[in-house]
């Protein structure tokens, strides 16, 4: 194991990650600050160091890195990554050259050359040499030399096993951990358990087989004796002839049924041959049984079919016989005749109905006309008897008219006289003549006037005129009355004439229609009664004919139905029994077929008992065979038993030896674990104070001011916890610390570890360590790193301007690399 202390002096990068064209960094072993904005290739420079040493960048995890090469720069013309790293110690100079052609993924595949003063190594040898010179594994490098933020946080909050291994490295107890881990206790225990299972299986199955088989043999024997099989029959010798006898019987039955079964020869006198023969016999019996059942079912079905056909056929024949006319044509003719009569009767009935309806109407009309005429005649006679005939009335009217005229003349004369006197009076009064104008005699006007005045008064007031006027009025009343009677007589006379004419016309019409010589209501009614009587006769006759026709139609339909059924049935029966006959002959043949089928069924019934006997015989054979088979099994197990016992002994021995080895390993593991705890408990305090020194410098947590490391055994493994303690409380840092506090914890543990792990590589790489930190923490970190740089080379990348200025000022001497920007040719250095 080497104990040289190396520093990084030169780094040359080309075609790697964000670096295309060659980039050289000559540190001369001094601490180096690489600064610049985000995304200019600072991390690529740091990753080049880790890749050159171990050929892998562990943070490249995920499916994307499996489908794309993230190592080789995308713009490099030769598609090749090459990193040359020079490490120098006071005694040695080692140049590490790692190259890689662009591939399809980012996994390990690179060429490594290590050039030393006295040798050049390649591949695995070269890799082994790096680890030997630096005394640093890959895991340890990431835990103590390269502080990548994600990596250190993973160390703090990630895999317990890795963390614990690192701690053991720091504490010098890694050998004990490795020793414990190398003991294959689980594998050996699993194999021990497999042996144990085999032993248990043997004990629970094969070793138990013999007693179980013996018990089973006794059980079978007991049951056979109970079944009445004598002990003497439990012998293989009578079995072959017994089986042959049974086989022959089965063949005979098969021949009866009409099924082929394989012939069975007399078997040899050994159990497998007998077993095989009995299986074949069992198959033959099954075949015969199956065929017998099938045929029995067929016969039963046939019997049902034939019986049903027979009953149906008999029924149809009986129905046919029950019909009055069995000849279809006669029946149809008869129906046609009845139909013709029916049509004729119905026509006649219609005619009679018309006549009856006419007579009914005429009877009423005649009656009315005659009654009307009679009423008119009675009225006429009454008038005649009261007033005389028309001429007599006319004469009375003429006489009265004459009398009235006379009276009117008389009244007129009286009235003219009065008017003349009045005129004379008026004249006298006006003229007052003293002589008569006519006779010229002298007159006294006054006297004459008085006289005329008296005369007028007498004439005008005369009752004579009044009486005359009364008489005129009376005569006029009589005239009017007689004129009215005369009008009535004229009207009645007219009506009588019209009624007579109407009656005559009606009678004439009826005579024309009926041909009756004499027409009157009585004869008409008599004719009507006759017509109604005839109609009743026709109705009755039609009803009878209709009934008869319906009956015959029914018979015809029935006949058709029976004939059709008969035809179908006859066809079915003929097909079923293969006959050609019809009617009763066919029925007899069908009955005969039913009888034969029943006889066959009966013969199958007797076959059932034969098969039962055969089954019993075969079961007896099989019982004896089972006994003999079990007896043979017992014999075989008795022969095998010593071998099984030997196997048990061998397995028991192996099991004991494996258990002994496991116990020893468990004991050693317990001892190593106890020793590890013992050593660790002494050293943890020292490590803790160192970590806390850094934690304090970096202003860790205001309450949890101390970190505590502890070792616990968990699931048979010794693991380390990192806790933070305050005055009263403590906590696992992962549960309560902020990101900045976790980073500070990580940096404190990391720097402490870097002191203990591999002092051969005096180098610490930090990538952007100030993330999430405020100004006081950054200043504290810069001061701490400045102190550390006095003892070890620090290579640090940061984008924080303020932090890098503090660093450059505090870390002396140093190299300062300013990266301005990035292009496809790589970082642009100021």
């Amino acid at each position: 194991m080497s104990s040289e202390t190396f520093h990084l002096t030169n780094l040359s990068i080309e075609g790697f990650r964000g670096i295309n064209k060659g980039l050289k960094l000559d540190t001369n072993g001094l601490s180096t600050v690489i600064c610049g904005p985000n995304g200019v290739g600072k991390t690529s420079i740091l990753q080049a160091i880790e890749w050159s040493l171990y050929g892998w960048i562990p943070h490249m995890k995920g499916a994307e890195f499996d489908v794309e090469d993230a190592i080789v720069n995308q713009f490099h013309p030769a598609e090749t990554a090459k990193v040359e790293l020079t490490l120098e110690s006071p005694e040695n100079r080692v140049k590490i050259i790692r190259t890689r052609k662009k591939g399809h993924w980012s996994r390990r595949k690179s060429k490594l050359v290590v050039e030393m003063k006295d040798a050049t190594l390649k591949g695995k040898q070269a890799q082994a040499k790096i680890e030997e010179l630096l005394d640093l594994t890959e895991d340890e490098f990431y835990a103590s030399k390269y502080l990548h933020q994600d990596a250190i946080r993973e160390f703090i909050i990630g895999d317990l096993k890795t963390r614990s291994a690192m701690m053991d490295r720091m504490l010098g107890t890694y050998s004990l951990r490795e020793l414990i881990d190398s003991l294959p206790i689980t594998t050996i225990t699993r194999r021990t358990n497999e042996i144990q299972t085999q032993l248990q299986t043997l004990q629970s199955t094969e070793l138990r087989n013999l007693p179980v088989a013996r018990a089973k043999l006794e059980d079978i024997k007991k049951k056979l004796l109970q079944k009445g099989i004598p002990e003497g029959d439990l012998d293989i010798r009578p079995l072959p002839p017994l089986l042959q006898e049974l086989a022959q019987k089965v063949e005979n039955l098969a021949a009866q049924i009409g099924v082929y079964v394989s012939h069975i020869e007399t078997p040899s006198q050994n159990l497998p041959a007998l077993q095989e023969a009995s299986s074949r016999l069992r198959n033959n019996i099954s075949l015969v049984e199956s065929e017998r059942f099938k045929k029995y079912k067929e016969l039963s079905d046939k019997r049902v079919t034939l019986t049903s056909l027979r009953d149906q056929y008999k029924n149809v024949l009986d129905r046919l016989k029950s019909l009055e006319i069995t000849d279809k044509e006669t029946l149809q003719r008869k129906i046609q005749e009845i139909q013709a009569k029916l049509t004729e009767k119905k026509t006649k009935r219609e005619e009679n109905r018309d006549t009856r309806d006419f007579l009914q109407g005429e009877s009423i009309t005649l009656t009315n006309l005659q009654q009307n005429l009679k009423d008119l005649q009675e009225s006429w006679e009454k008038l005649i008897s009261e007033h005389g005939d028309i001429n007599s009335v006319k004469e009375k009217i003429a006489h009265l008219d004459e009398e009235r005229n006379k009276l009117r003349n008389k009244i007129e004369g009286l009235e003219t006289y009065g008017q003349t006197i009045a005129s004379a009076l008026e004249f006298i009064k006006d003229q007052k003549p003293d002589a008569c104008p006519i006779c010229k005699r002298s007159i006294d006007p006054l006297e004459i006037a008085d006289h005329l005045q008296k005369e007028i008064s007498q004439a005008q007031a005369s009752s004579q005129i009044l009486e005359l006027r009364q008489s005129v009025k009376k005569i006029e009343g009589n005239i009017q009355k007689l004129q009215r009677i005369l009008g009535e007589m004229d009207g009645l006379d007219n009506r009588l004439k019209r009624a007579s004419v109407a009656l005559d016309e009606e009678k004439k019409k009826m005579a024309e229609k009926t041909g009756m010589a004499e027409i009157d209501v009585e004869t008409v009614n008599e004719t009507l009664r006759k017509a109604e009587s005839e109609l009743k006769g026709l109705d009755s006759s039609i009803e009878e004919l209709t009934f008869e026709k319906q009956r015959l139609d029914g018979d015809l339909s029935h006949l058709n139905e029976v004939e059709k059924g008969l035809k179908d049935l006859t066809q079915k029966i003929r097909t079923e029994i293969g006959a050609e006959e019809t009617g009763d002959v066919l029925l007899r043949e069908l009955s005969e077929a039913v009888k034969k089928t029943e006889e066959k069924i009966s013969s199958f019934d007797t076959m059932t008992s034969s098969l039962e006997e055969l089954n019993k015989g075969l079961m007896r054979f099989e019982d004896i065979h089972a006994y003999l088979t079990q007896e043979a099994e017992v014999l075989k197990l008795e022969q095998e038993f010593p071998e099984l016992e030997a196997l048990m002994r061998e397995l028991t021995d192996k099991h004991q030896r494996l258990e002994k080895l496991t116990r020893g390993l468990e004991d050693i593991k317990q001892a190593a674990s106890a020793e590890q705890k013992n050593v660790v408990s002494d050293m943890l305090g020292e490590i803790e104070s160192e970590i806390n020194e850094y934690y304090s410098k970096l202003i860790g947590h205001t309450y949890y001011v101390d970190l505590e490391l502890s070792l616990e055994t968990r699931r048979d493994k010794n693991i380390y916890w990192i806790k933070a303690k305050g005055t009263e409380h403590e906590t696992h840092v992962q549960t309560r610390f902020s990101n900045a506090q976790l980073n500070i914890t990580a940096i404190a543990v990391f720097i402490s570890m870097s002191k203990h792990l591999s002092k051969n590589l005096n180098l610490v790489i930090l990538d952007d360590p100030t993330q999430s930190m405020d100004a006081p923490h950054k200043e504290a970190l810069a001061k701490m790193l400045a102190d550390e740089s006095k003892e070890k080379q620090i290579i640090l990348a940061t984008q924080d301007q303020e932090f890098q200025e503090q660093l450059v000022k505090l870390v002396q001497p140093n190299k300062h690399l300013k990266v301005r920007s990035w292009g496809t040719e790589g970082p642009v250095i100021s």
Partner: protein, 62 residues
């Protein structure tokens, strides 16, 4: 401390924690293998021993 010293010391310290002499012998064997070929050698040798037992052979085959 030389390599030999470290393993001897480790053997002595662990032996003190073991009671059975057979286990002490086994520890010595394991530490020899560890010194020779590290943890892989230890694992390989122990599995080889288990295989020998399973084959019914002696464990002392070297």
């Amino acid at each position: 401390m030389s390599v030999k010293d470290f393993y001897e010391l480790l053997g002595e310290r662990l032996s003190l924690r073991l009671e059975e002499s057979e286990h002490k012998t086994l520890l010595k064997e394991i530490l020899d293998w560890y010194k020779e070929g590290g943890s892989k050698q230890v694992k390989s040798k122990l599995l080889e021993r288990a295989t020998l037992i399973l084959q019914g052979l002696s464990e002392d085959v070297e």
